[in-house]
Amino acid sequence: MSDEMNFAARLSESELAELGGRGRQVRIGPGYYLMRQGEPGDCIVLIVSGLVKIVRSDHTGDERLLGIRGPGELVGEMACIDDRPRSASVLAHTLVIGIKIARNSFLEFLRDRSKVAYEVLRQGSLRLREAESKQEAAASDSVDVRVLRELVSLAGRFGGDGEAVIPLCQRELAQLVWAAEVTVQRSLRSLRDRRLVRTEYGCVVVDCVDCLRRAAAEPNGTEAVLGCGGSSGED
């Protein structure tokens, strides 16, 4: 995750301490919900450690993955601010430790600390742009390009510079890039043939994130970069 998206990293120590002092620590095990779609926005959670999935049901009840958030990020603040039911659910993907703050206390804090309100605004602005650029990409870039770009971004969350294990199934990956699952499977097959990724049950393994980044930086359709399979990291 880029520092730009890390809410906590952009606050001063005293601001962070004061915000933390307004809430209490919560621990949520993997698979449990932190928030549910349709509920009123009565609290926010600042994630201290662990990863959450943001999922939303469509009108048929099918759940779709909208995004992943991790340490330093806020979840649930939008419904607190616009006072409408939550538009998505937040699900713990790993063990999550967070600080839960009641809506009123959070809003009071924003009114007192305009710099913090500004940071929340900046996060909202970046998320809106992210959503819109994905929609534009869905209309103009090939699925191969989108999958590669998404994997690089996910590798930043789930791994270091060497190896990354991305614990998402192919269906979830397809939802993140706004493409059909079969098309994404085809893209992954071609990335596998180039030794850039390995697919295992419920996850995608990147042996060398650096190779993946170089492949994503290539002009469209070049496909010249092949994965080292993790060997270059051992030099």
Partner: protein, 233 residues
């Protein structure tokens, strides 16, 4: 001042805070069809629409300028780029004589700091846009590209269809790429969808024209696909 456009920033912000913002900036009158922001420009200011109408557009690869939204009195324009320091993401052009207030970036940010209520109102406004964007994404994904194409063609027929001998004719001045952008699909998916509709004899395509010969089939394909007409930008 005119009434605020529904869904505009002014519906989230108090009248005195709006007045404070307006008085912090410089008023300007604009001619019809004047370009106020250009995609890719660096962001130095925000605009408040005091009177009149503007359209928000993006340049499609074919050179066609696609309209994303219409904004009017009480709206703030260009705030995303000022907030996150990136370039303008779309063009803004006046539709008629329009009065705007130009607020320099530092003044705007100062106002947010001086009056946190304004920042919270802006957040509420952004939250609405994020909700619509997420909603569109999820609902789009729930329908196939061909279903969305069917719904889109029906809407076009509603707006600009003309009855001819074979059915309803729409002069589609949109390329496949532009239709793809409108329904959130790839160009290949649009081409495939049109081929399917032609083969099933639901539509006839001619040079830049399209005739719907079996509207009822299209309607059943479109089922319950909904388009959010209030697109964020």
């Amino acid at each position: 001042m005119n009434a605020a456009t529904p869904g505009s920033f002014l519906t989230h912000i108090g009248a005195d805070d709006w007045k404070y913002l307006v008085e912090s900036g410089v008023a300007r009158s604009c001619e019809p069809n004047e370009m106020l922001f250009r995609h890719g420009d660096p962001a130095g200011h925000v605009l408040l629409v005091v009177d009149g109408w503007v359209k928000i557009t993006i340049n499609a690869p074919s050179g066609y300028e696609a309209v994303l939204a219409i904004r009017g009195c009480g709206d703030v324009l260009g705030e995303l780029a000022v907030l996150d320091g990136r370039a303008r993401s779309a063009n803004v052009r006046t539709l008629c004589e329009t009065r705007v207030v130009l607020l320099a970036a530092d003044r705007f940010l100062h106002a947010l700091e001086a009056r946190p209520r304004i920042a919270i109102a802006l957040l509420s406004h952004l939250a609405g846009r994020l909700r619509r964007s997420d909603n569109r994404r999820v609902e789009q994904a729930a329908h196939s590209a061909t279903e969305r194409l069917a719904a889109f063609l029906l809407r076009l027929a509603d707006q600009q269809g003309a009855v001819v001998a074979e059915g309803v004719e729409i002069s589609v001045r949109l390329s496949q790429q532009e239709i793809a952008g409108a329904i959130g699909a790839s160009r290949e998916a649009v081409a495939r969808g049109l081929r399917i509709l032609r083969e099933r004899e639901v539509v006839i395509t001619r040079r830049r024209r399209l005739v719907i010969t079996a509207p009822h089939v299209l309607e059943s394909m479109a089922a319950d696909v909904q388009f959010d007409t209030e697109e964020p930008c």
